[in-house]
């Protein structure tokens, strides 16, 4: 019986593919190659003949689809197989201490699906169960405490949306345009809805002594990835989170518990959080001295550069999201964010920064969260040099890369929030470039 059903299903698949392939071929034959830029203008397309996808009964309109027990936890349909995290092998020596990139060119809206939200590990993503989980609060506190996972769930909790951007996002572009695609140039970012306990509540439980000025996060993994944060920020909006996008954190994002430090660089969002200690000074651990410090032209370095300044990028069109449909209506869309608050405006330029127009902002921007912007245009099929420029509620305007280089030189590595430029060719293909 099972075998028979399988055969039917396979037969259906085969048939579907024959039809699809035929439809694909005829569709391709009907229209000029979009990549040549000779596509028809809007509204003038005429079918050469009836579309078999419409006139013929398709297998999916006649046969069964998957039963409800086919995928207890679903994955995206196979046609979206290209929408995955990717890494750049030459960046690091070992994939267990490395980073991958969110396919932001292929996503819309603002929430990043956890399954393709970028990962950064310093010693691999560890498997730590809720029952083995312990969180310790030590240092300058009245009552050093140990919490179980269950203890944390008994505190009043909050939810908030926040972007997490790696301080090194765009770091490869300091010297000039280098990687083809916003997945690689701006993709060390994700945006999720978290649920957790305010850190202030946990600290109140332990009682911070008056001399306590800094808190220190440490992870349970082999890298421990310790970071110091001033007490003011800890008491302000930091969450100790255990849910993201409505479900338990994914392993690679710190299951069962991670720190959420809105607006501040991702390295501070310690995963698999096991210890919060209060000190009268910064610990000056490896990740806040030898790394995540910003070398300036005079050979000295900025430290404690936590805030991620306002930034934006056009996600489509972009090198991995070329224009296939030819001239006519085109939606330019992208993401903007600021670690200093809400996005107030995003401007888009089609001519490499000579002239700008205001893009539409989706909904009411939330502070320290990704904001979607769009600019629908009529593309005449000629070359464009696209840029976007974010402004936040403090009046900060996203600078050009050259403006940043003028102050910081070329060895800054971190915090590259400069304006991204895409060169849209008449063919619809897009390149990462810089203009001057």
């Amino acid at each position: 019986m099972v075998a028979q059903r399988d055969r039917c299903l396979l037969g259906g698949l085969d048939q579907a593919d024959d039809v699809l392939s035929a439809a694909g071929r005829s569709a391709a034959a009907r229209r000029p190659a979009a990549a040549s830029g000779a596509a028809l203008a809007a509204g003038t397309a005429r079918a050469a003949g009836p579309d078999p996808l419409i006139t013929e009964v398709q297998p999916w309109a006649s046969e069964f689809g998957d039963p409800v027990d086919a995928a207890p936890y679903g994955m995206p349909i196979r046609f979206e197989d290209h929408v995955v995290r990717r890494n750049v092998e030459w960046l690091t020596e070992s994939p267990v201490s490395s980073i991958n990139f969110t396919p932001i060119h292929a996503l819309e809206g603002t929430i990043t699906p956890a399954g393709c939200a970028f990962e950064r590990h310093h010693s691999g993503a560890i498997e730590l169960s809720k029952s083995d989980y312990r969180l310790m609060i030590t240092g300058l506190v009245d009552r050093p405490l140990v919490f179980t996972y269950e203890d944390l769930t008994r505190f009043p909790r909050q939810s908030r949306v926040a972007f997490l951007e790696c301080a090194a996002n765009g770091g490869m572009e300091w010297g000039g345009a280098q990687l083809e695609g916003c997945q690689f140039t701006q993709g060390m970012i994700h945006n999720m809805e978290y649920v957790g306990v305010p850190l202030s509540a946990l600290l109140a439980e332990a009682g911070v002594k008056p001399e306590g000025k800094w808190i220190y996060f440490e992870g349970a993994d082999a890298s421990s990835n310790g970071r110091s944060i001033p007490l003011e920020k800890a008491m302000d909006d930091v969450l100790i989170a255990f849910y993201a996008n409505g479900e338990a954190l994914r392993k690679e994002h710190g299951y069962p518990v991670r720190a959420v430090v809105p607006g501040w660089e991702g390295n501070l969002w310690v995963k698999w959080l096991r210890r919060i200690s209060v000190y009268d000074q910064a610990v000056e651990g490896r990740e806040e001295t030898s790394k995540y410090t910003d070398l300036m032209p005079d050979g000295r370095a900025r430290k404690w550069t936590w805030v991620m300044d306002a930034k934006s990028v056009i996600t489509s069109p972009s090198p991995q999201a070329p224009i296939y449909h030819g001239r006519g209506p085109l939606v330019i869309t992208g993401l903007a964010w600021s670690g200093n608050g809400r996005i107030s405006r995003v401007d888009v330029s089609l001519d490499g920064g000579k002239n700008w127009q205001e893009a539409e902002i989706e909904g009411t921007p939330q502070p320290k969260a990704l904001t979607r912007f769009r600019l629908p245009i009529q593309w005449d099929g000629s070359e464009m040099i696209l840029q976007s420029r974010a402004m936040d509620e403090t009046g900060y305007v996203q600078p050009t890369k050259d403006a940043l280089r003028e102050i910081r030189g070329l060895n800054n590595v971190y915090h590259n929030n400069g304006i991204q430029t895409w060169w849209v060719r008449a063919s619809g293909e897009v390149e990462n470039v810089e203009v001057g």
């Binding site: 694909g24 070992s94 200690s277 430290k303």
Partner: protein, 356 residues
């Protein structure tokens, strides 16, 4: 809602939990638990345990535990971090940021090595070993002489060369006034000529068709995208050579397990072992060279595989002794095992893991 009301409300909400009475959740942390986890060392040396170590002991420990990535002289193999040298390079186009040239505090070295190193074997070094490694790294960077002994007592007296090289974030003072200006909307630039093109560097990961990896499919040409999932790939080809595997000596295999800790940072074996920096090693004895499907080997290793070679005892022994002599251009940065008995032990240990 006015900004002021919003701010006041936010302050109220924040004050809520912070000012609240404790809920009585959690339990007191025991002194042994705090000692086990709270091992942070502060810049002034607070938190250091008793102990000491000299440069020459550090040299030996470093060669054993660190040199496979960082090099015998802390010079950094391949892309692994360079730990020594780089003095005076911080204004160069390619600065060399090492412990000596960049790190502001010795406490950072001690704390990090103690807590997070060696890579893949964190928290296996004794306090004395960490003092010794730290002493060796100071020596490698020309900060101390070769007769130096580092201890809890003299630790705070060490001033790192770049101790004054850092200052707190000054973007609010330097950058924000510059960038908080009304932006230009029209006729903002004379020219917008393309000055740099990423495509010329050719460093982006690519799809098989040569486009940037992950490029969205052209829906007009979807035939390729609608192929059903590929059927299970056919069984891997039989090993090119039949390899005789001798019975395993349990004591030797056990000793090999200890030696293998040097390899663990990069190679995994056992249940569910996956590729890491190096390929997984289940069933390595008898396995055709360069045959793990989803691992990217060096061209030298690929060539050896193409010759039909398999990892028999002798080839493995030779490779473990001097990897770079046996496979030209191998990606394995490990310098090799010096002792023949260690090589035999590791082979015996690996022989116990069947292919999965």
């Amino acid at each position: 809602m006015s900004k002021w009301v919003e701010a006041a409300l936010a302050a109220l909400i924040l004050a809520g939990p912070a000012a609240a009475e404790p809920l009585g959740l959690g339990r007191p942390a025991l002194p042994e638990e705090i000692a086990a986890w709270d091992m942070t060392v502060l810049p002034d040396g607070t938190g250091l345990p008793e102990g000491s170590g000299d440069v020459w002991t550090g040299d030996e420990v470093f060669a054993e535990a660190c040199a496979m990535c960082h090099g015998d002289f802390a010079e950094g193999l391949d892309n692994w971090p360079v730990l020594a040298g780089g003095a005076g390079s911080l204004q160069d186009r390619r600065p060399v940021k090492t412990i000596g040239s960049y790190w502001p505090y010795l406490s950072t070295v001690w704390d990090y090595v103690h807590r997070s190193m060696p890579f893949g074997m964190a928290q296996t070094l004794s306090a004395d070993d960490v003092y010794a490694i730290s002493a060796f790294l100071l020596y490698s960077n020309g900060i101390v002489e070769d007769d130096f002994v580092l201890s809890k007592e003299n630790f705070a007296g060490i001033v790192m060369p770049n101790a004054e090289g850092f200052y707190p974030d000054d973007r609010p003072g330097i950058e924000y006034p510059k960038f908080r200006t009304e932006p230009c909307m029209a006729d903002c630039a004379e020219s917008a000529e393309i000055t740099k093109r990423a495509v010329k560097l050719n460093v982006t990961p690519e799809d098989p068709d040569g486009r940037p990896a992950g490029t969205l499919p052209d829906l007009h040409l979807t035939a390729a995208g609608t192929e059903p999932p590929a059927a299970e790939t056919s069984e891997a080809e039989a090993p090119a050579e039949t390899v005789e595997i001798a019975a395993i000596d349990p004591a030797l295999a056990e000793a090999g397990g200890k030696v293998f800790r040097k390899c663990q940072a990069c190679h995994k074996v056992g249940d569910g072992a996956k590729n890491a920096t190096g390929p997984e090693l289940n069933g390595i004895l008898g396995r055709p060279v360069a045959s793990v499907a989803d691992f990217r080997y060096s061209s030298g290793m690929e060539a050896l595989g193409a010759e039909g070679k398999a990892w028999d005892h002798d080839l493995l022994a030779a490779f473990l002794s001097k990897p770079k002599d046996v496979v030209q251009g191998t990606k394995m940065s490990f310098a090799g095992l010096r002792k023949q008995e260690e090589i035999e032990a590791v082979i015996a240990y690996l022989a116990g893991f069947a292919p999965e």
